[in-house]
């Protein structure tokens, strides 16, 4: 269970168990709670069912009550409702919750109160609660046998197992007296049958049941305690029980019986369902019942085994051997007489069980259940079309036989064809019909006397029997082959779907693609809608992907609560599950180990149906695949981030090295020159002093340029560099640049070669100026002494191209690719000072303008740094001629 963000230690559950209503469970519970409260524990009352006349009130007003509304203290109705969120917010040490078997409102988070209690326990809060023996799931049938009344809202045994049981018991006379005084609340299931139910015999039987149940529990707890503490004792040989179920409603009784046996024997138990061609659910109603049966088994704590196989009995025995089963529980067969001819499953299991005890549970006939069985059978068989076709086939064969006129043995052989066909394509029913029709047609139309069912020669009777045996056997075999092929096909389809999904997912590199793929696969497999919730950074869930036609607004608030619950708890929830079973959708958590990644939601089109276990398993497999894919994507993103971090770490080191070196060098020169001047004023003559001062001046300017570049870089990196677009004249920019670098360039000549009619461009004047200054500074540093630098400005198609050309060592290979990277310094130029920032700043600025920058080298030692600036679509706005005589020369 997922316990992220919650205390690991779970709360302790104490159940005050009563044999029947009215034994004073609630009173005893409140007393115990009050005792705790008086001893300084933080105990609150969560909810209490108040009978009409009661002595509870005096006790109740002594303990704080947690109410839905603030001022609802007097209202008994309010006390009867539990507000689970209020409890979780309040976080008391102990909460008192009456009537564990309570059925919640449909709009409520959980269907049953015990699910609320489970959640409260998960939060580490202790719970005191009450229930009647009447409501223990595994005792449901026994209680029904004793009292004739079926408990509807039962609590699974697995849940009660975790609790400490305190049995509350009083004499039958006392109970009957209390009923007369209206001091108790009667179970909802009773309706008008109160007097019937509270017969002394019933009461005593229930009391005995409660005592036995508690004794068993105590015994179990004792043995567990002994085991845990390694106390030696006479341990019974470990028993394993296997309950065999079908999609029939009878199976619930088998499951409960197995559970009781498992309890009594302290045995492990499992429930097996074998899907064979006899028991293959062929419609949704049957699927639904099967899903319910399996769910019940799961709730009662059984291990679930579902298999597909050919032979029910064989599979059961195989599993039994593999799992060392000692006891098998079966339902009494409800097969037709024909099926009994070939031996019922029960018989065959009995015959071959060898050392395994087999228990047969009698199917208790209830009219309602019979009806549902009838529906189940009729739905299974109601397929007229194959029978019609079979009939036509037999007619066709008859016509062929009639007109071609074969001899009798060939005619019989031909009649086997429809049997084979219908067996292979439509199943057993049509094939049996085909064989019967075949015999009939053969008898009446071909065996003398013709047109009469009577047979002249008795030897034909033998032929009929042989024909029938051959036909039925062939038909059954064909049918079995067909069924197995069908099963194999379905299994293969499922495997193939999962396989192709996993392949598709692997191929996707971004989350959106993965989610879309999964949605498509889910929709191919179920008739309905699918959607996926993923969490934001702030932890809130939102729909990230959904199938066509799905509308987010169609999800009700209640559904969203389910989604959140599934996400937080990492457990399956929604329709047909034990959590939020009444909600519309079915929700699968996407999680891996402790990491919750999202929720896969499914809305099935037919509102009444549950999803078959096969589909549910498939969806679970898909959810697992998706979780893995999402996780691996997340991990690779994390890895990328780590790589980026490492890279930026590298950059930072480069920056430190570069800056410490580049800033210290001019500082050293300045300090050196200044200290010389300060200390030895009279040593230096006028010329020396001038040289020293010039050094200080030059180096200070160098530092200023460096700081400027660092600031530019920082602004580019942080995205704070915003272009201030303005109409600029390239010529004007050149004017400013040349003026600025005059001092730097010294004697070197710079030639500007500018094409005519270059229009104004939209650019950031100051930044383009920075680019030019950097390029010229670079050119000056790397150009051979005495050579000149040429600036060429051209208009090429839709852009302006500006090149700075100089004579120097040609730039080649790696240098050429990396020269614009931050802090990259060419190995061959290590002796020339620089930070490796200038060109990367140029690149940043030019690219921000939508231009390009590159370097071209010629073999005879010329390097050109060229950049382009796009010409804006917009024509420079009209300039007013304004005054008389103004003419625009451009």
């Amino acid at each position: 269970m997922d316990t992220t963000g919650k205390p690991i230690k779970k709360g302790k559950l104490t159940v005050f168990l009563g044999s029947v209503a009215g034994v004073g469970k609630t009173y005893a519970m409140l007393e115990a709670g009050y005792d705790k409260y008086m001893h300084g524990n933080d105990a609150v009352v969560g909810c209490i069912d108040m009978p009409k006349k009661t002595d509870l009130a005096t006790l109740l007003c002594k303990i704080p009550i947690l109410l839905k509304g603030e001022k609802a203290k007097e209202s008994a109705a309010k006390i009867a409702e539990l507000d689970i969120d209020a409890v979780l917010d309040r976080k008391p040490q102990l909460v008192i919750i009456d009537n564990l078997a309570h059925l919640n409102d449909t709009a409520y988070r959980h269907s049953y109160r015990y699910q609320d209690v489970q959640e409260i326990l998960d939060f580490g809060i202790d719970v005191y609660t009450t229930m009647d023996i009447f409501h223990v799931e595994s005792l449901k049938d026994i209680v029904e046998q004793i009292t004739g009344i079926k408990g509807q809202h039962t609590v699974p045994d697995g849940f009660i197992e975790k609790a400490e049981l305190i049995l509350i018991d009083v004499s039958q006379d006392e109970i009957i007296q209390r009923i007369k005084d209206e001091k108790i609340i009667l179970p909802q299931e009773l309706g008008q049958n109160t007097d019937d139910f509270f017969r002394p015999g019933n009461i005593n039987a229930l009391r005995e049941l409660a005592l036995r149940y508690t004794a068993q529990r105590v015994d179990k707890q004792l043995s567990e305690y002994m085991q845990e503490h390694d106390i030696k004792g006479p341990w019974p040989a470990s028993e394993r029980i296997l309950a065999c179920i079908s999609p029939s409603p009878f199976s619930t009784q088998v499951i409960r019986a197995a559970r009781r046996m498992a309890d009594a024997l302290k045995a492990e138990w499992a429930v097996i369902y074998v899907e064979t061609h006899y028991h293959s659910p062929q419609n949704e109603v049957v699927y639904n019942q099967l899903a319910k049966n399996l769910l019940l088994a799961e709730e009662l704590g059984a291990e679930i085994i579902t298999l597909t196989g050919d032979d029910f009995a064989q599979e059961i025995l195989l599993v039994s051997k593999r799992k060392n089963i000692t006891q098998i529980v079966l339902g009494k067969p409800a097969h037709s007489r024909i099926e009994e001819l070939r031996g019922s499953v029960v018989d065959r299991v009995l015959r071959e069980s060898q050392g395994i005890s087999v228990h047969i549970i009698p199917g208790k006939s209830v009219t309602k259940e019979k009806q549902s069985i009838a529906v189940y059978r009729s739905l299974r068989q109601c397929r007229l079309f194959p029978y019609t076709l079979t009939l036509l086939l037999v007619v066709l064969i008859t016509l062929i036989n009639k007109y071609i006129g074969f001899d009798l043995p060939n005619i019989v052989l031909l009649y086997l064809l429809p049997v084979l066909f219908s067996g292979a394509y439509w199943g057993r029913g049509p094939s049996i019909m085909a064989s019967l029709l075949g015999v009939l047609a053969f008898d009446i139309l071909f065996v003398p006397p013709i047109h009469s069912i009577t047979v002249a020669d008795l030897k034909y009777l033998v032929s009929f029997v042989i024909f029938l045996v051959v036909a039925v056997t062939t038909g059954t075999m064909a049918n079995r082959l067909r069924y197995q092929a069908e099963l194999a096909r379905r299994r293969e389809a499922r495997t193939a779907a999962l396989y192709s999904l996993s392949r598709k997912i692997v191929a996707e590199t971004e989350m959106g693609g993965i989610l879309r793929t999964v949605i498509n696969v889910v929709c191919e497999n179920i008739n309905g809608e699918a959607f996926i919730f993923t969490p934001h950074d702030n932890g809130e869930l939102s729909i990230n992907a959904f199938s066509q036609g799905f509308q987010e607004c169609s999800l009700k608030e209640n559904e969203k609560a389910v989604v959140n619950w599934v996400f937080e708890h990492g457990r399956i929830g929604g329709r047909g599950t034990e959590n939020w079973g009444t909600s519309q959708g079915l929700y699968f958590p996407l999680k891996f180990e402790e990491k919750n990644l999202g929720v896969l939601g499914v809305n099935i089109a037919e509102a009444e149906l549950l999803l078959s276990s096969e589909h549910r398993q498939m969806l679970e497999a898909i959810a697992n695949l998706l979780s893995l894919a999402m996780l691996s994507l997340q991990l690779s993103a994390d890895a990328q981030q780590a790589r980026n971090l490492a890279q930026s770490e590298e950059l930072r080191i480069a920056l430190f090295n570069s800056i410490s070196h580049e800033l210290r060098t001019p500082l050293a020169s300045i300090l050196g020159a200044v200290t010389s001047l300060l200390e030895g004023e009279n040593i230096y003559n006028q010329v020396d002093r001038q040289v020293l001062l010039q050094t200080v001046n030059d180096e200070a300017l160098r530092m200023n340029r460096l700081v400027g570049n660092l600031l530019d870089m920082a602004r580019l990196e942080s995205g704070m560099m915003q272009l201030k677009y303005d109409w600029c004249d390239i010529q004007e920019i050149m004017g400013v640049v040349l003026r600025r670098i005059q001092e730097l360039i010294g004697e070197r000549k710079i030639i500007v070669d500018m094409a005519q009619n270059i229009p104004l461009i939209r650019a950031d004047f100051v930044l383009i100026e920075h680019v030019m200054v950097n390029l010229l500074d670079n050119a000056n540093k790397y150009a051979k002494a005495g050579t000149k630098i040429t600036i060429i400005i051209l208009m090429v198609a839709e852009e302006i191209q500006i090149g700075v050309k100089k004579i120097g060592e040609p730039i080649t290979g790696i240098d050429r690719d990396k020269i614009f990277e931050k802090f990259y310094r060419s190995k061959s130029n290590q002796q020339i000072s620089g930070t490796g920032l200038g060109l990367s700043i140029c690149k940043g600025i030019i690219e921000a303008h939508g231009g390009k920058i590159w370097v071209e080298s010629t073999s005879h030692g010329g390097n050109s740094f060229i950049f382009t600036l796009p010409l804006d679509d917009k024509i420079p706005p009209q300039v007013p001629t304004g005054k008389e005589g103004d003419t625009i020369a451009r």
Binding site: M734, L738, P880
Partner: protein, 230 residues
């Protein structure tokens, strides 16, 4: 008033800058006073009767622009602001709010002295001289005539107006706004590209090398300045 012996008030929060300016300006014959905050600067300005004020825009106690505006409420003494390179908007705002010129940190003392001399000269100017001479270039304001190397240069009325505005304030920076307002009126203050076009034309007529202008230089992002050789 002669600029030698003029009284300079230095408002800057950095001790090193104040000390350096005090020494350098004193050596050049100025009488100096210093203030380390905006408030102190405002007080000092009233007592000291400064002829020129050097104001750092980045002050700790109040916005330099605010100091500038308060000073301008009562004094017409030229104000030169100190600013850093990237803050073009600050410079423009200061100039449009009444500063006479700016110097970008880090600056050379020569640059500052030149700006101060121009500002003081303009402040002292009483009557307009009709003929202004700048090396090879002569502008006769009374006759609207421009002569380059002895030859007359034909200018359109707009070109002439721009040139006239620049030469009248020779040595001083004029922001785009100031120029646009003077030539086209208040409604055209944002149309900086007008200037790019006309200055380009003007330069073609008076500058021999357009990429190395002698007379009209561009102050990037701020405006134009008519250069004077000293």
């Amino acid at each position: 008033m002669h600029d030698k012996g003029a009284r300079v008030l230095i408002i800057d929060d950095e001790n090193q800058i104040r000390k350096m300016l005090k020494v350098a300006l004193s050596a050049h014959g100025y009488e100096t006073a210093v203030a380390s905050s905006g408030q102190e600067g405002l007080n000092q300005a009233a007592f000291f009767h400064a002829d020129i004020i050097i104001l750092d825009l980045g002050l700790p106690d109040m916005d330099g622009l605010e100091v500038l505006k308060q000073l301008r409420e009562w004094t017409e003494a030229p104000i030169i602001v100190l600013s850093v390179r990237e803050m073009e908007t600050d410079k423009i705002n200061a100039l449009d709010s009444g500063a006479d010129d700016y110097v970008t940190k880090p600056f050379s003392i020569g640059e500052l002295l030149a700006r101060m001399r121009v500002a003081l000269r303009h402040a002292a100017k009483t009557d307009d001289e009709p003929v202004l001479k700048f090396g090879e270039l002569t502008v006769d304001l009374s006759r609207r005539q421009v002569m380059l190397e002895g030859k007359e240069v034909k200018l359109t009325p707009t070109e002439y107006d721009i040139l006239k505005n620049l030469v009248i304030h020779a040595g001083k920076v004029l922001t785009h706004r100031q120029l646009l307002k003077a030539i086209w009126g208040v409604n055209y203050q944002e149309q900086a590209h007008y200037l790019r076009v006309y200055i380009g034309q003007l330069r073609k007529k008076i500058e021999p090398d357009l990429t190395r202008p002698r007379f009209i230089i561009t102050e990037p992002g701020v405006g134009y300045r008519f250069l004077i050789k000293e």
